[in-house]
């Protein structure tokens, strides 16, 4: 297996991240911890390489904050919804396996969308089809086709949020075009 020696776009964020993790674990952000952490991060990135992740080169912090806020709200409401379902419906629950076809071709956004969907109680990813960017979700309390549509819409909304954070220019333009023509 060969890999380009040092690609700045993918390695620099990884090295910074590893350095911060190192310092966080030592609970010390002084130079005495940061500099060894940085050196270890470089060694780790060069010796234990991961399959390259296709980053788009853009990252919108404002969108990230908005997305995190919505994620937390969803998390709390969905947690209580599932709790209520456990009490009120329990064994009579009807579920569904729903296929959602995403717009993106990027592995990173596909994975992130799957994660966000799995983390919010009420739906989790059962199967991923990378070739066609399709997520197969198991969802609680789906009785009518309308409920399934609501799930699809909410997953696509998560994906749109993630594209706004770190999608490519092209995906973002397509998203804007889609939103302006309802």
């Amino acid at each position: 297996m060969s890999r380009q020696k040092f690609s700045l776009v993918t390695d620099i964020p990884l090295i910074i991240w590893l350095t911060l993790v190192w310092s966080a674990l030592w609970q010390d952000f002084g130079p005495g911890t940061l500099i060894p952490g940085f050196i270890i991060a470089i060694v780790v990135v060069n010796f234990f390489y991961l399959p390259p992740v296709g980053l788009s080169g853009r990252f919108n912090v404002l969108s990230l904050i908005a997305f995190s806020g919505r994620f937390l709200v969803d998390l709390v409401t969905a947690s209580f919804e599932v709790f209520w379902l456990a009490i009120s419906k329990g064994p009579d629950l009807r579920n569904a396996v729903v296929a959602v076809r995403l717009r993106t071709r990027s592995d990173l956004i596909l994975t992130a969308t799957g994660h966000v969907t799995s983390l919010v109680p009420g739906s989790f990813v059962l199967e991923v089809d990378r070739g066609s960017s399709t997520l197969y979700l198991h969802c609680l309390n789906i009785v009518t086709p309308k409920d399934a549509d609501a799930v699809r819409a909410s997953v696509l909304r998560s994906e749109a949020g993630l594209i706004r954070i770190m999608g490519t220019r092209k995906e973002l333009d397509e998203l804007r075009a889609e939103e302006s023509t309802p």
Partner: protein, 143 residues
């Protein structure tokens, strides 16, 4: 005093999420719906308990560790849910009569047929890239 109140609210909230998961595990009818209950204390419950810790100690240096603790849970729990769910689905550990809609069934069936056909003439062909590669990947092995 105020921190004590906040800490107790957060801790009780976290414990409540575990209680909710326990009730869910008992009440939900099959493996896949129980998985939903199992993810809850891991995400929101843990967040509440960690937030309680952060408020109680009041140390800024502890905050990154607590954040990492939560983040790694967020990264790993969907992966384990996928592995358990996927295996459970393929080994028929689910009650199909509880599903109102199943859009994966056909795909998996087709993938199994495809894989069987591919293996017959070419021998150990290995995985080749294709639309069915994802769902069909280890269909044979998992059954």
């Amino acid at each position: 005093m105020l921190t004590d109140v906040i800490v107790s609210i957060l801790l009780i909230g976290g414990a409540f999420m575990s209680l909710a998961a326990g009730i869910g595990l008992l009440r939900f009818p099959d493996l896949l719906s129980r998985m939903h209950a199992a993810t809850k204390p891991q995400v929101l419950g843990l967040l509440l308990v960690l937030a309680a810790l952060a408020v109680e100690t009041g140390s800024w240096l502890l905050l990154p560790v607590l954040f990492l603790c939560w983040l790694f849970q967020l990264l790993t729990s969907p992966v384990s849910a996928l592995m358990v769910g996927r295996t459970g689905y393929r080994t028929r550990h689910l009650r199909r009569e509880l599903l109102t809609l199943d859009e994966l069934d056909d795909v998996v069936e087709r993938a199994i047929v495809d894989q069987a056909e591919r293996q017959r003439p070419a021998g150990a062909d290995g995985a080749d890239a294709g639309v069915q590669d994802g769902p069909g990947g280890s269909a044979g092995a998992a059954r």
